[in-house]
């Protein structure tokens, strides 16, 4: 049903109906933002990724050929852009003379998570997730937070199911070890 709706909306957009894009944004913006947020670990980077992804969707939707579901196609874009953003941040961090603490303060000021306990929980979780390699983190997020099957993740990432399982195993192991270290 969801895919049919997406199909109709995309068709409308391809026929020149600009409002169809608004429907796609409203439907997927939260999923895009939270996936990016889980991957990059802060609001500013997640916001940048979200905006980039929505612009890419607008520009590339005309080339979308329904080879996969719109949902998979969008996740593929978010996933790639998030990994790029992580790489970009790592390069920036390497050449930056600013200390990490000042950066965290700037990030916290603009965070859209208002509840303090949620914010603290998020900070704890991000500290663990950022210690996992990006590719493993990606699988962990898809499996744990997005509740996707390996087949769905495979369609998004283009990786084999076996490789994804191994990545998830190592990610899970690392998360548990890091949590036990903290406790």
């Amino acid at each position: 049903m969801e895919q049919e709706n997406d199909f109709d909306v995309v068709k409308r957009f391809l026929n020149g109906d600009e409002t169809a894009f608004n429907l796609i944004v409203r439907k997927y913006q939260k999923k895009i933002y939270w996936h990016a947020r889980q991957m990059v670990g802060n609001h500013l980077d997640a916001d940048e990724v979200t905006q980039e992804v929505l612009i890419v969707i607008y520009k590339k939707l005309r080339t979308f050929n329904f080879g996969s579901s719109l949902y998979t196609w969008i996740y593929r874009i978010v996933s790639t852009r998030s990994l790029n953003q992580i790489r970009k941040r790592q390069i920036k961090k390497f050449f930056s003379i600013d200390d990490d603490e000042s950066q965290i303060e700037i990030i916290d000021e603009k965070d859209i998570v208002e509840d303090i306990s949620n914010r603290e929980r998020l900070a704890r979780l991000n500290k663990i997730l950022e210690k996992i390699p990006a590719k493993q983190r990606q699988v962990f997020i898809f499996r744990n937070f997005e509740q996707l099957s390996y087949d769905e993740i495979s369609k998004i990432t283009g990786k084999s199911v076996g490789g994804l399982k191994a990545n998830y195993f190592h990610a899970l192991k690392k998360v548990l070890e890091l949590t036990n270290e903290k406790e």
Binding site: N22, V25, R26, Q29, K30, Y33, W34, R37, Q38, D47, T50, Q51, L54, I55, Y58, I112, V113, E114, D115, N118, R121, L122, L125, I141, N144, F145, Y150, K165, A166, Y168, F169, L172, K173, V175, L176, T179
Partner: protein, 201 residues
């Protein structure tokens, strides 16, 4: 214990085949320790769900922001539109100026002018212009016997050092040279002509 933990993780990661899975489930049913560990890991995974409660204003404002950015990209400013064009053209012009330096006859003209001036200016004019400032008559130099006195008569920029100035002056030459002042221009011209006819230079 470590082996059991790895088994639990493999089970949760769905890395076991059907036989291994069945064996593990049987083991978990018989071992309280494995069962408890499996439950605690599952609970932990469940507990670390990402909080998604956030300020909705961000999502409300997202679409207008995207529309605005798209609009800007559709109609870039004139400067932005020609950014690459103008910078490429400027770089090209600079390169061309270096490669094909405009031909100027400045140096040549300057040399020609200097040569014309040198050829057309008379000796008299040169002496009047450039040697009129000499305060000292050669004869007055000769009349001073002491070198120190002679030095006081020489222009300040001339420094003879240890050389005795009086030794440099030959009386006969000075006499002859001083006598030139007494000739008129016509007489000097006659002398020059007669010297020319003798091929004396």
């Amino acid at each position: 214990m470590k082996r059991n933990n790895d088994q639990i993780l493999k089970y949760l990661a769905d890395m076991m085949n059907e036989t291994e899975k069945a064996e593990f489930e049987t083991l978990a049913q018989s071992s309280v320790e494995i069962r408890n560990t499996l439950t605690s890991v599952k609970d932990y995974i469940f507990s670390i769900q990402y909080p998604t409660e956030a300020d909705d204003r961000y999502f409300v404002n997202l679409l207008p922001k995207i529309r605005e950015r798209l609009e800007k990209q559709k109609n870039p400013s004139v400067l932005k539109k020609f950014y690459y064009f103008t910078s490429t053209v400027s770089a090209g012009i600079v390169a061309l100026l270096f490669l094909f330096k405009p031909v100027t006859n400045f140096d040549q003209n300057y040399k020609q002018l200097a040569s014309e001036v040198a050829q057309n200016i008379s000796d008299q004019e040169v002496s009047q212009k450039y040697f009129a400032d000499l305060e000292t008559d050669p004869l007055s130099l000769l009349s001073h016997e002491e070198d120190e006195d002679i030095n006081t008569l020489l222009p300040s920029e001339i420094d003879l050092g240890d050389i005795s100035a009086s030794n440099l002056l030959k009386e006969s030459v000075v006499d002859e040279y001083s006598g030139i002042h007494n000739f008129s221009d016509n007489e000097l011209e006659k002398i020059a002509n007669s010297l020319n006819s003798l091929n004396v230079k």
